[in-house]
């Protein structure tokens, strides 16, 4: 069993989706995340164990390598695809057991800003690490974040901004969220954002990369 878990983690780490997928070339014709997940389920392993002991392990390795510039966006996206191939099979099991995810993360690009690649990467990484992610899209107003937080009381909110001007909106939104409920945790990120800004606006965590948010969530939520 342990061996299958490790094989599946490896498929996630290196983006091996399924047997037909030619990527990565050194795993050609080998089984991928899709097949291995199916086998584990057939053997009666719980969806939760598959998630915790294989998928998250693989995704975490990718996150760390991405932070260290050892892999780049395309490789992360291949891993996300492999993750999807596994999650499609696990989701029906989770539906009967909603407590199985580590927590909920609500993410959006702040009002006035339309950039979304960075936000999407954070969203994929957090999801791949076992959290439910609610992606509110781009150009998201404070009210929409607050409404989503009310529906998901323990959720952590992630805000993304790519311009210094839209960072002002990040500040407005953080203040509005905290005013509504001072216990809501807010994470911030995006190219011009930094630790000093995070502290000044009263947000709870800044990270230059997705893995930092995952680690913060693991420390505080999971």
């Amino acid at each position: 069993m342990e061996k299958l878990f490790e094989q599946l983690a490896y498929c996630i780490e290196f983006g091996k989706i399924n047997k037909q997928s030619p990527y990565p070339p050194n795993m050609k014709d080998q089984e991928g995340a899709g097949e291995l997940t199916g086998q584990l389920l057939d053997q009666g392993v719980s969806a939760d164990d598959i998630l915790q002991k294989a998928l998250i392990v693989g995704m975490e390795r990718v996150g760390v390598k991405f932070r260290e510039n050892k892999v780049f966006v395309p490789q992360v996206l291949m891993s996300a695809k492999a993750m999807d191939a596994a999650m499609i099979q696990l989701k029906p099991h989770f539906a009967n057991n909603p407590g199985s995810q580590k927590g909920t993360f609500i993410i959006g690009t702040v009002e006035g800003d339309l950039h979304d690649i960075g936000k999407n990467l954070v969203s994929m990484m957090v999801e791949g690490n076992g959290y439910e992610v609610i992606d509110l899209g781009t150009n998201v107003k404070a009210e929409v974040f607050i409404e989503a937080a009310e529906k998901n009381p323990k959720a952590v909110i992630g805000l993304s901004a790519l311009l210094t001007t839209t960072m002002n909106n990040m500040e407005k939104i953080t203040i509005a969220i905290k005013k509504h409920n001072k216990n809501t945790t807010v994470c911030v990120g995006g190219a011009p954002v930094n630790q000093e800004f995070c502290e000044r606006i009263g947000a709870d965590n800044y990270s230059p990369d997705p893995q930092g948010t995952v680690e913060f969530l693991n420390r505080t939520v999971a």
């Binding site: 997928s21 030619p22 990527y23 990565p24 070339p25 050194n26 780049f72 966006v73 395309p74 490789q75 996206l77 291949m78 996300a80 695809k81 999807d84 009002e111 006035g112 800003d113 339309l114 950039h115 690649i117 999407n120 994929m124 311009l163 210094t164 001007t165 839209t166 002002n168 909106n169 190219a191 230059p208």
Partner: protein, 230 residues
């Protein structure tokens, strides 16, 4: 140099000479990755070939001091390092350029089909398109200036170094409303997203300084130290 009216140009994607290899290199798609060159070629040759790539500029007299550039009754606080690059400019070409909205529409489509890697490549292609179109526009400005016996500086944009993005409001005040179909929102974000704006300095004694990654403060930039960028 006389005050000139706004000039407007359209560009064809095929004329921007964007190679599939360039996009793959910038995306850091190496040989081990699945084959995306056919997809990219198809997008460049057909799907995105109708992109309304456009750009334009207006040339106006300007006065410079240590940190600022005065044009008409506007004072642009470009900061010392950018002001330095404009030394000896007597005029400024105020420019903007865009890929048009087709890229964003295509991105939505690909994302909704779960084609995330393809979407990433198209996003990158869009960024390269607007920069390449800007290279063409800059060459047009240069040709116009050279024919009049004056030189140009490199191009500089609000939001870089110490030049606040907010000054894009003033910059666009010098261009006709809805110029090139570009709209600026309250936060100074341009739509279509793949758009740029900025200044090029003009004067007999200006110097063209090539962009150098080492002197830029954007340390986590996508293009930093890429062979193809500088």
């Amino acid at each position: 140099m006389d005050n000139l009216k706004t000039k407007h140009f359209t560009f064809q994607l095929k004329d921007l000479e964007i190679s599939v290899e360039l996009i793959e290199e910038l995306a850091r798609i190496d040989d081990s990755m699945p084959e995306y060159s056919r997809f990219l070629k198809e997008e460049i040759d057909s799907t995105l070939s109708l992109s309304q790539i456009e750009g334009g500029y207006t040339i106006l007299p300007a006065q410079l001091d240590q940190n600022t550039i005065h044009i008409g009754d506007h004072c642009f606080n470009v900061g010392k390092s950018i002001a330095n690059k404009f030394t000896n400019s007597t005029h400024i070409a105020i420019f903007t350029c865009t890929t048009g909205p087709l890229i964003s529409d295509r991105l939505k489509e690909l994302n909704s089909q779960g084609l995330i890697l393809e979407a990433y490549l198209i996003d990158l292609l869009g960024s390269v398109m607007v920069e390449k179109a800007m290279d063409k526009l800059q060459a047009i400005i240069e040709a116009e200036c050279t024919s009049k016996g004056v030189n140009i500086t490199n191009r500089y944009s609000p939001g870089y170094m110490n030049w606040d993005v907010k000054e894009q409001k003033d910059l666009f005040a010098f261009l006709p409303e809805n110029f090139c179909g570009i709209k600026l929102n309250e936060s100074c974000l341009m739509t279509p997203v793949k758009s740029v704006s900025g200044f090029i300095g003009i004067g007999e004694k200006v110097r063209f300084i090539k962009h150098a990654c080492q002197s830029c403060n954007s340390t986590n930039c996508l293009y930093r130290n890429s062979k193809n960028h500088c």
